[in-house]
């Protein structure tokens, strides 16, 4: 596709359940980012991938959160034993990562997660 896509668009789950959020970056983009947008915390960085490696996972809020990227393309963010405070919009972005400094990040439409 032409842009970053994320699925599902909306997810409602019960407290304690596990959820998986998917991100398909722009084809050829080597860098991929996850951000979380919540009412109390604003927009915050979660994790960054370069290829399949995650050199910066400093933003993951707890060990219930994990992410992986396979084939240098699709990424999955997994939240285990969801809590109500995990309710937020999860945004994914990708960039070409071809230079060492700045590469524009293109964002997907996000997944709105609601934990009941």
């Amino acid at each position: 596709g032409a842009g970053v896509s994320q699925s599902p668009s909306n997810k409602v789950t019960e407290k304690g359940k596990d959820v998986e959020l998917r991100c398909d970056p722009i084809s050829g983009h080597t860098a991929l980012y996850w951000y979380r947008q919540s009412l109390g915390q604003g927009l915050e960085f979660l994790i960054y991938f370069q290829g399949n490696s995650a050199p910066d996972k400093s933003g993951l809020p707890s060990d219930r959160f994990s992410a992986e990227r396979t084939g240098g393309s699709v990424s999955t963010l997994t939240i285990q034993r969801t809590q109500q405070e995990d309710s937020a919009v999860y945004l994914c972005a990708s960039s070409s990562g071809t230079s060492g400094y700045y590469n524009e990040q293109f964002f997907g439409p996000g997944t709105r997660l609601t934990v009941l």
Binding site: A31, Y33, Y35, G42, L43, E44, F45, Y48, D56, G59, V89, L91, A93, S95, G97, G100, Y101, Y102, N103, E104, Q105, F107, G108, P109, G110, R112
Partner: protein, 113 residues
């Protein structure tokens, strides 16, 4: 840690008029980039304008321009000839070498017809 502050939770502007959104940031770095992003109700983050810290000239993109004051660590966005389609949440953001974006809390812009 770098921080970005947007002190205006909400702003209103009359259609065709000009509005300025404020942003300040804190960093010890000398080389970095600053951005304004627009987020309409669709949630899609759209890059509006970017400024490279080593450039003294203020960036301009059509009706959007910035006032970048490096010494004061200030980066405001001016929207001229405001249009109904400009209504959205606007985020100021900072990135340094290493790629992750640090965002401000956002400013909701309402455009009145």
């Amino acid at each position: 840690a770098q921080t970005v502050t947007q002190s205006q939770p909400e702003m209103s502007v009359q259609e065709a008029e000009t509005v300025t959104l404020s942003c300040t940031y804190d960093t010890s770095e000398s080389d970095y980039y600053l951005f304004w992003y627009k987020q309409p109700p669709s949630r899609q983050m759209i890059l509006v304008i970017r400024q490279e810290a080593y450039k003294q000239q203020n960036a301009t993109e059509n009706r959007f321009s910035v006032n970048f004051q490096k010494a004061a660590k200030s980066f405001s966005l001016k929207i001229s000839d405001s249009q109904l389609g400009d209504a959205a949440m606007y985020f100021c953001a900072y990135v340094e070498y290493g790629n992750k974006l640090v965002f401000g809390a956002g400013t909701i812009l309402r455009v009145k017809s």
